[in-house]
């Protein structure tokens, strides 16, 4: 604590001892500004702290949240929190923080659950801020935490427990240790500081700079195809394809699937069980009512293996269409597919283990 604060504090304590609770007379500029009423404070006081302070009365579960999410959030963040365009990805990314391309989501990165509520309440939906009720906000918080494997599906998030939910990455934040990267001895070299000049990269070769010749605002800036930045992030480079998938990583990718599919038991939900799916003919799981196009694909001999599943997951309607001779198949599965090859590989590696 600063000397200044101590001084202010000491002054307050002294005046308290001298004259009891502070009165308006303790103000230097009394009469400028006024006391807000408790209702006035309450109407603006929307913040929630990690310890739960400020959390309003209310509750919500993942199931309730999913319904709100699909109506109010999915158009930007994707039906399964996978992000669309450059809107943030909300789900998955577990174990990627050391990667070439870390995926910083609520589940993989955010240290506190309270922040999910606080941010949704104040800023979401984008362009219609502060329109959600407290219950809706709790429900969305629960849905996003459930989809990120932080809480169980039937766990109701409330004002009493939001300050107690532990996030997986919480321990991995530490206080700023700067200044860093300083020269040895602390002094700047003036002469013969290095022997050769080696050029590592040139911005003109990359050619992603907007035109600045005319008076127009940034016209003609061509985005590299691999860009998916939401902040001023460094350009993401293409990573050479890794041959085998990572089942651990695939487990969090499966979060995108598990709202509709069970994999570790022969139980149908909104979608058919994926238990024992490898080697099975499409649309053949007992007790599930498949769409006509799916049945046709099965009749045409589609069998699920690594290759067919990878193609299907990457582009469900397109791939199934190619099997039955249509441009796009018509199925009830609302999922748009997983674009990242790496995620598909990881997912299949996980499914192989989990579907046994």
């Amino acid at each position: 604590m600063s000397v200044l604060l101590k001084t202010v504090g000491a002054a307050l304590v002294l005046s308290f001892i001298a004259s009891g609770p502070l009165s308006a007379a303790d103000r230097k500029y009394d009469g400028i500004g006024r006391m807000p009423t408790p209702d006035e404070i309450k109407s603006w006081d929307i913040d929630v702290r990690p310890d739960g302070q400020g959390a309003p009365e209310g509750h919500g579960t993942a199931g309730e949240g999913e319904r709100v999410y699909l109506v109010k959030c999915a158009s930007c963040h994707g039906e399964f929190g996978e992000g669309g365009g450059r809107y943030p990805v909300l789900i998955g990314g577990h174990g990627t923080l050391k990667d070439m391309r870390p995926e910083k989501t609520i589940g993989s990165y955010w240290p506190y659950a309270s922040t999910v509520f606080d941010y949704i309440k104040r800023a979401m939906p984008f362009g219609d801020a502060q329109s959600l009720t407290d219950d809706e906000t709790y429900a969305l918080t629960a849905y996003l935490l459930f989809m990120n494997d932080v809480i169980d599906e039937d766990f109701a998030v409330t004002q009493d427990n939001i300050g107690t939910i532990e996030m997986p990455n919480q321990a991995n934040f530490f206080m700023d240790p700067r200044p860093d990267a300083q020269p040895e001895g602390g002094t700047a070299c003036m002469k013969d500081c290095k022997t050769e000049i080696k050029v590592l990269g040139r911005a003109t070769v990359l050619d992603v700079t907007p035109e600045t010749g005319g008076g127009d605002m940034g016209e003609g800036g061509s985005a590299p195809a691999s860009q998916s930045s939401t902040e001023a992030e460094p350009k993401k480079e293409e990573v050479a394809a890794a041959p085998a998938g990572d089942a651990d990583a695939g487990r969090s990718v499966f979060n995108k699937c598990k709202a509709c599919h069970v994999i570790d038991s022969p139980k149908n939900r909104v979608g058919p069980s994926l238990h024992g799916v490898f080697g099975r003919t499409a649309a053949s799981f007992d007790g599930f009512k498949y769409s006509k196009d799916f049945q046709k694909a099965g009749d045409n001999g589609l069998v699920w293996d690594d290759d067919s599943l990878a193609k299907f997951i990457a582009d469900p309607k397109g791939y199934l269409g190619s099997v039955i001779g249509k441009e796009k198949a018509s199925t009830r599965m609302a999922f748009g597919g997983i674009r990242k090859e790496e995620d598909v590989r990881d997912l299949i590696a996980y499914m192989k283990e989990a579907a046994k």
């Binding site: 400028i32 702290r49 984008f126 206080m175 500081c193 911005a203 907007p210």
Partner: protein, 429 residues
Amino acid sequence: MGEKKTIEIKDSGAAMPRRRFLQAGLAGSALAATGALGAAKGATAAGLDIPDWSRQLGASVDDAPYGKPTHHESSVIRRSVEWLTATRESSVNFTPLYALEGIVTPNGICFERHHGGAADVDPAEHKLMIHGMVDRPLLFTMEDLLRLPRISRFYFLECAANGGMEWRNAQLNGVQFTHGMIHCVQYTGVSLKLLLEEAGVSTKAKWLMVEGGDSAGMNRSVPIEKALDDCMVAFAMNGEKLRAEQGYPLRLVVPGFEGNMWVKWLRRIEVGDESWQAREETSKYTDLMPDGRARRFTWEMDCKSVITSPCPENPLTQKGPNVISGLAWSGRGSVKRVDVSLDGGKNWKEARIEGPVMPKCLTRFYLDGWEWDGSEVYMQSRAIDDTGYVQPQMTALQKVRGINSIYHNNAIQTWLVNKTGEVENVRLA
């Protein structure tokens, strides 16, 4: 950037500077359009032109009740990088540093960063609330705030993500894009310490939560030590009221700290004993290290500098004497020294600092007496502040922080002056 191909290098002093040269074509056609008048009153054979503006009346007063820069400078504007963000409302643009002189940024070209668009706030309706761990919560109108004692201070404001696109390699070819998330203006307002004293801060208070009245409700935690040190609640910049995009009618000024904390459209300050861990200080504005852990509360903007002339937007057109100039700053204090290297960092010369030098403010420097011989030059600048901090090379930063930390890139910038006089953003080992 296509313009650069038209540059001709001249050895004599007769050639026009590049930008004038480019505009000569325009001026010529305007003259031609005036027809016989222009031709009849042309210059004598051996003398200089007597142009129209020397003979005819210019614009009247009040032609522009609020003036703008001359149309000859219409290319000096903020620019954005379209592929960077999802929407135009939650986005950023860049200050045209290449066109600035001295240390003050004109209000109309201070870079913008909004998270929910620039709010259009009615000053008659706007209020600032201070509550939480205080003896008495207070609600101020703008009228109230204008009755309190004022201070005016010059400060730079830099986004923590300035240079964020350059972590992996040289990517954007222009100082506007590599360094343009910064501005420096004279802010006028009320000391935050004064407002907190009016409310009577509890001795147990350790943090403030500051919040904007925009549709992003931008909120950040500010440590009480900083709040009672040099923060201010500003309503004016460079002698006039804040621009809407800079938070009109009220913004927080947090000198030397990352721009994201300078909450615009400031409506609420809550005093507490813990930090809030807002989205903008957890999900964003934390710095991911190579080991997968992340630094948090990385507030100070470290000492940094860049050469703004020459730069990709300001190529050289002539051999011989040329101006080398740039800007330096530090969020931890004042700029003490700036060095310039003309051989890619092998050897350095101390530059001349052109005052005024103020803490947490842009500082202008020049390297006098330089003559370009037409050869390739790898140009760098390196600033040192009064804490002794030395601006590092990118290799030194990457060694500690890797390539995924996004924020707080204060590395030394290299410009390669080609034999043609064109200038490129390059990365050296």
